[in-house]
Symmetry: C2
Subunit: 156 residues, 2 copies
DNA sequence: AGGATTACTTTACATGGTTATATATTGGGT
DNA sequence: ACCCAATATATAACCATGTAAAGTAATCCT
């Protein structure tokens, strides 16, 4: 499998990645994701937490913006918002300028919850990071921006 | 939050990871995982593919072994196996020595499918890896073993 | 022999993703 | 001014895949 990219200078470089590495990457990231998505952090699921962070970043956000930012379909966002509104963590009102738009924001309780999550121990992850050597941990944090880039919804 | 590990020499080192990094790591890996799990690779879901690889590694495997190896509950494995057996990719028979055990193996069609997956382009992942510079790609592949370690079901 | 244990399956449920369809609002053309 | 198309969200129905709890069959132990 050949991956091509444009370099700084505008040249294009062909790179070869072994299929085996691709499969390992897919399987490993897939599994890690599953495990992390199942950690409920005492109450809120991954999907809801992720949405709350997105709301915080984009506040005040429309539902469609959130769907784009989260990389999921609008109905999925609608359902999650329903839940967050029920829980009193999120406020949803109609945009007075264009009443088709929903204006979404965190309630004070939602902001408080967001900060609680930020401070939380992230038990599973912490425990498992403890298996790593300092070098491994350093390397992992070093590629964090790369991982973020990999699933950035802004890019093509 | 403090993470502790034992070093080569048996010493213990306390390391501090910023909460923010923990949260970023969790959110990013969670999202990547979701995306990758949704790539169906023309027919088979992530869960089924992952299970087939596990079967291949452990062949002949019992259902319980597979559940442990996949880090999922036995009912989940049972259901996935039902599907794979339906598809003719996996054979399930009773262990003649202990008829409570299921003996699971890939059929020839299953092995063929496994190899097809190994050769497949992994479209989404390939395309997105193309965004990375050579250095980023190298770094990512470099931490692959670390990521694998992080979710290794063998370890505590 | 018979009860406890083991291994797997069945059942029932929750979450969160999808597509297709419905509803309400806005804006534009004549 | 009115109607139609487009837009933003919501609803409905479906699917996959995780769980926990209860059921079944086989084995083991005394």
């Amino acid at each position: 499998m050949t991956v091509t990219r444009s370099t700084n200078g505008g040249r294009r470089t062909a790179r070869r990645i072994r299929h085996e590495d691709l499969v390992r990457l897919r399987m490993t990231l897939g599994r890690l994701g599953r495990v992390l998505r199942q950690q409920t952090d005492d109450g809120l699921s991954y999907a809801l937490i992720s949405l709350m962070f997105a709301i915080h970043r984009m506040q005040p956000a429309s539902a469609g913006d959130l769907a784009t930012s989260e990389g999921v379909s609008p109905p999925s966002v609608t359902r999650s918002l329903n839940r967050l509104v029920e829980l009193g963590l999120v406020a949803r009102e109609a945009d007075p300028l264009d009443r088709r738009n929903a204006v979404i924001s965190l309630t004070p309780a939602g902001e408080q919850e967001r900060q609680r999550i930020l401070r939380s121990r992230e038990v599973w992850l912490s425990d498992h990071l403890a298996r790593l050597t300092d070098e491994q941990l350093h390397a992992l944090l070093g590629v964090l921006p790369v991982l973020e880039l990999l699933c950035d919804p802004e890019l093509p």
